[in-house]
Amino acid sequence: MQTVFVNDLEPFLSAVVGQMDVYYPRKIDSHYVFEKYNSSSNRKLEINNIRACTPAKEFLFPLRELAAVFPEPLEPRDIRPFAVFGLKDCDLRSIEVLDKVFTEKDFEDPFYIERREKMFIITTDCSEPAASCFCNVMGGGPFARDGFDLNISQVETGFIIEAGSKKGDEFLAKHSQLFSEAGNDVLSERQKNRETAQKQLEENNAELKFDAPVQEIVEKSYDSDVYDEEAATCVECQACTRVCPTCHCFYLYDTKQKDYFGKMKMWDSCMRLAYAQVAGGENPRKVLGDRLRHRFMHKFSFFLDRYGINMCVGCGRCVDAESGEVDIREVLKKLSQELLGKGGKKAEVAQ
C-alpha cells in the first residue's frame, strides 16, 4: 500500500469529486457535520480535528428509507458511489459493528450492503480529542489503523495520504501526478502528532480505569440500583441512541402512497417506553431503569457474546448529546466501584 504526500488538498478533493459524490465536514460552532460537496458552493475542505457530531451510520443505514413496496417488489436502487471525508477511527469501528449486523450471512440487509459497497472511506487523524472522547478505553485511538480506503494526516507542510485498501491504493496510483513521496521527516512528524493525541486522550481519561473487563462489570452488576438512579435524570429524549454510531434499532412501518403501498424502515430507540410493548399491552421494560440496563447489557455484553466485538466505540457522542445527566462513562465507573465495594481483595485495593 502506498503512502504519499501533498501540500494542498484541493486537487485531491477535485480528483475524488470527479469520481463520486463527496460528503465532507462542515464546522458549526464547535461541532462538525457532514455536508454534500457542491461545486457551486466553493467551500474549502477542512480537516476536522475530532469526529463529526453525527454518526457514520447515516450513510449506510439512513434515518428513514423505503424497504419494500407492494404489490410489485422494489426495484434495486441506483446508488452512486460516494466518499465520506473526515471519518475517524471510532467511525470505522462503528461500521465494523454495523457490518456484523447488516451483512450477517443469510440475514443480509440488501440496502446496507449496496451502500457499503459504494462507500469510499477517507479517514483523518484526530488532532484534538474532545473532552467526551474515550475511544482509548474502548480499544480505539486517535487515528485509524485499518478499515479505511484512504487516511489523511495533517503535518506542518501538508498532508500524508495513506492507502488502506485496494480501492484506495488504485486511487492513489490513478492520480499519482498529484502526489509526491512522503519523506521520513513528515512521517516522523505524523508519528509525533499521533503520540500527542494519544497522550491527550489518556490524560483526559485517566480516571476511567476499570479493574475488570467492562463486560464482566456490566454482567455482574445486572441487579444494580445504579440504572434506576441514573435513569432518574433521563428525560427520554432518545438522543443517546440517535447519535450513537453503533445503535441500529429500527422500526418497520407501512404506508399508503398514491400508487403503491410501502414498508418503511426508520431508526428507533430502545429507550422509548413502547419500544418492546406488544399488542396486548405487555412490556418487559416498562421501567426506564430497565431500559437503560438493557442498553448497557446490549452494548457491553450481549453484542460481544454474539459477534465477538464491543458495541461501544467510546466516541462520546452520547455524552455530548445527553439532555439529562446520564454519562455512559460515569455509569460504568459507578458500576465498577459498586462491584469493587462488594468484592474481597479488590475492595481493599480500592480503599
Binding site: 419494500a68 407492494f70 417488489p73 443480509e108 440487509d109 450492503i113 441500529h248 407501512d254 412490556n283 418487559p284
Partner: protein, 273 residues
Amino acid sequence: MNKNLYQPINGEIIDIIEESPTIKSFVVVPENDFKFETGQFVELTLPGEGEAPFTPSSSPAVTEKMEITIMKAGRVTALLHACQKGQKVGIRGPYGNGYPIEDFVGKDVYIVGGGVGLAPIRSLFLTLVDRVKDFKSVTCRFGARTPEDFIYKNTLFGSWRKIDGVDIKLTVDNADGKWTENVGVVTTILSPGDVDIKNSVAVVCGPPIMMKFATLKLLEFGFGDKQIYLSMEKNMSCGIGKCGHCMLGQYYVCKDGPVFTYDQIKKYPNIWD
C-alpha cells in the same frame, strides 16, 4: 442486489373462520408454496396499514395455504378482523426456530395451552398426530376463559379426542350451564401423574400469566428446566435479528426463538411481561 428480506410475498385471504368472540382464523394462500416448520412464525402485512407476527396454526405439511389464527388485541389485528375474503396480504418469513420435534420422539409430549396460545399448538398438534406412534403420548391440557372462548371447538371437542395416543383435558375459568368439564385455571388440570415426567417434554403456550404459572407448576412436578419449551411472543418486527424490539436478554426472539427452553431464558427478569 441481495434478496430483500423486508419484501413480503403476496397472498390472499380466501376464508375467515370465527373461532370465538375475539379470535378469527384466516386462511391465506401465498403466491408461491410456503414452507415452514411448526413453531416458526411469519410476519403478516396488511398493505399500507401494518405488519404483525403470528405463528401459523395449520400443519406445515400443507404448503399451498396456511391458517393464521388472530386475536383482536391491537391496531393491526383489529384491522385484520375487519377484513373480508379476497383481501390481499403480504407474508414474510418463516422466521425463527420451530419446535425440535425429533427431540420429542419416544417421549410423552405434554402440551399446556390457553386462549389464543392454542394457535401455535394446533400446528404442533397436527404435526405430532401425523406420526403419533413416534411419541409415547400427546397429552394436552387446554384452558380458556369461558367455553365460548375456546378456539378450534369442532376438533377440540370432537375428532382430536378420538385419536389413539392423544389425551385431552379442558378447563374454563368461568363455566356456563352446559359445561361438563373442569372449572378453574389451567394449572388445576395439571397432575404429576399425567405423564412419565422423566421421559417427557412439556410445551407451554398461552397468555403470559398462564405461561408463568404453568411453568412454575411443571417445575414443581419435577420437570427439568430444559424439558420445558416455551413459545415466547415478543414484539418481533424485522424477523431477522436486527431491529431489536423482540430482545429478551441476549436473545432475539425472532431469530433465536420463538421457541425457548425455560433453561435458556430463566435468568432474565420480566420474561412473562
